[in-house]
């Protein structure tokens, strides 16, 4: 498969507002590069503060990188051009209750990206929204409801619908499955796998849960304090961790993950 998304030397640093001559630069994310292909999932693990969420925000455009470039299908993605980016890279956040506007119906919520980025007529938009809701396992009639009427699992599905409605090529899951109950998580994983097969998506999964990571991802990237300490195919990294950070992460979950 050809490379879908390629990231070259992406990094992010902040200047702290210290005293006059004591301004320090904090490197939140040191220069890193990776690439993803369609139908594949890349998992990024690391402890809190290792820069995973920053990486997610940089990829989707919520924050400006201090340097480096992102290529999609060979074309550079300009950082501030949201309209171009959102058609290709979408993100699902962890807390679905705060990412859905409580005063808008689902129809209005899903209509917005369509109105801004496509030229469809109103009837076509409603039809597309109906089809998308059915794809994620909700009813078409749900489009007239407000977000507070849905349970946590359903809200995550709505976030997923918002992510796939523009038919992107890459979806970033920023701890999207962490707050769900185990059975809902399993259903969501099945849904994501189905969509990956149908639409040829590439996923970037950011998670703490090594069980999901092992099941779901093809490649693995381990971040620690902003830099990549280990990378490779998931099975290889989990069965033969080389770096001590990876080993520590696997050990703490190792009680639940017997190595084969």
């Amino acid at each position: 498969m050809t490379t879908l998304l390629e990231v070259k030397e992406l990094y992010k640093s902040y200047k702290t507002k210290g005293y006059w001559y004591h301004k320090k630069t904090i490197d939140v994310l040191k220069p890193l590069s990776f690439c993803i292909e369609a139908y594949k999932t890349l998992a990024i693990i690391g402890e809190t503060g290792s820069g995973k969420s920053t990486l997610a925000k940089l990829l989707v455009g919520a924050e400006m990188p201090s340097g480096g470039r992102i290529f999609l299908n060979g074309q550079t993605l300009k950082n501030s051009n949201f309209k171009q980016k959102c058609q290709h890279i979408r993100i699902i956040f962890q807390d679905s209750s705060t990412t859905l506007n409580p005063s808008l119906t689902i129809l209005q919520l899903l209509d917005e990206p369509l109105k801004l980025n496509t030229e469809l007529s109103e009837k076509e938009r409603i039809e597309l929204i109906r089809i998308t809701l059915q794809k994620v396992g909700l009813l078409g009639d749900h489009m007239n409801f407000y977000p507070h009427m849905f349970s946590g699992g359903q809200k995550q599905r709505i976030s997923l619908a918002r992510a796939i409605i523009l038919k992107p090529q890459v979806i970033i899951l920023d701890e999207a499955l962490a707050s769900l109950d185990p059975s809902l998580r399993a259903q969501m994983i099945n849904l994501l796998l189905d969509l990956q097969e149908q639409m040829g998506l590439a996923y970037i999964l950011i998670s703490h849960n090594l069980g999901i990571v092992r099941h779901f991802s093809d490649e693995l990237l381990v971040l620690s304090q902003g830099s990549v300490v280990e990378r490779g195919k998931t099975n290889d990294v989990i069965n033969n961790p080389k770096h001590k950070v990876t080993r520590k992460l696997i050990m703490t979950q190792g009680l639940r993950l017997h190595k084969k």
């Binding site: 919520a62 990412t99 506007n101 917005e112 990206p113 801004l116 078409g140 009639d141």
Partner: protein, 297 residues
């Protein structure tokens, strides 16, 4: 796949409807609301409803006490003043001046204030800092004093009063709007909208406004009760509605000299002002109560 509509008997209200349902359940707020509607109808339909003209007096019926007194006359329900004008009609016309004008004032200052507030929330840096601090300085001066100063400079008349009070109420709306919009901007769904490629204006209109409307409404009722009092006070001081306009404050000022012989010319307009302010405040309380309950549930 299952049928499209499953629970036919359930109605899922929008957030605005939820506020309304909670509001409806508070009896005090509903009473206030009923009085508010009553005053609005009065203000609008006075020319049709009022029995007499507010300006022409009946020379034979000077200083008649209200109908429940021994000397009163039923055809002049609330009595007459020193020029023989019917109190009831005067008060009804006054409602359109005091109450109706306050409504107009609030709407105009709301629109201007919200626009300036949103613009100031969208900009950052020196521009927004300047706007914010400048308007906060104006906020620190009591609104009545400022209105008196403005009217004293440009001259007393009803339209000048209206203009002065609008100017004075704008900073309140700017402040509330700016704070509310800034708070909403930090929320995640606004980020999601931005990532969809929405322009700032679009985010403001579609994502943020539906969430801050209730806060602005509650500020509007506060502003209206302030406006009613300001109009009445300016009328009382002679800086607002000029003779012979039947504005409540002006009627009160007129009646002061005759307080001992004809007390009804004083307490009747006073009671009307009280009635208008209390009902506005009750409606405002009801809105704030509904806001609080909905946030908690």
């Amino acid at each position: 796949m299952a049928r499209e509509k499953i629970y036919l008997e359930e109605v899922f209200p929008s957030p605005f409807m939820q506020h309304w349902l909670i509001f409806r359940k508070t009896p005090v707020a509903m009473i206030g609301f009923a009085c508010f509607i009553f005053l609005t109808i009065l203000a609008v339909f006075t020319p049709v409803l009022a029995p007499y003209s507010p300006i022409d007096g009946n020379i034979n019926m000077l200083l008649l006490p209200p109908a429940w007194h021994d000397d009163g006359n039923v055809s002049f329900l609330l009595g007459t003043d020193e020029l023989g004008r019917d109190m009831l009609s005067r008060l009804m016309y006054g409602s359109s001046l005091t109450f109706g004008l306050s409504f107009v004032i609030v709407i105009v200052s709301l629109v201007i204030g919200v626009v300036i507030g949103s613009l100031s929330a969208l900009t950052t840096g020196i521009k927004s800092s300047f706007l914010n601090h400048f308007l906060d300085v104006i906020l620190s001066i009591p609104s009545l004093l400022l209105a008196i100063i403005i009217v004293a400079i440009i001259g007393p008349s009803v339209s000048n009063t209206v203009g002065a009070i609008i100017l004075v109420l704008i900073p309140q709306f700017v402040h509330v709007t700016r704070y509310a919009v800034k708070e909403e901007f930090r929320k995640d769904y606004v980020l999601a909208s931005k990532l969809d490629g929405a322009s700032s204006f679009r985010i403001l209109y579609y994502s943020i406004f539906p969430n801050i409307v209730d806060r602005i409404m509650s500020q509007a009722t506060l502003a209206q009760s302030a406006a009613i009092l300001d109009i009445a006070t300016l009328g009382f001081l002679g800086l607002g509605a000029q003779i012979p306009l039947p504005e409540w404050g002006a009627i009160l000022a007129n009646g002061l000299d005759l307080f001992y012989i004809a007390p009804w010319t004083v307490y009747l307009p006073g009671l009307s002002i009280l009635f208008a302010v209390v009902s506005t405040n009750l409606v405002g309380e009801g809105i704030r109560h509904a806001l609080k309950l909905r946030k908690e549930s």
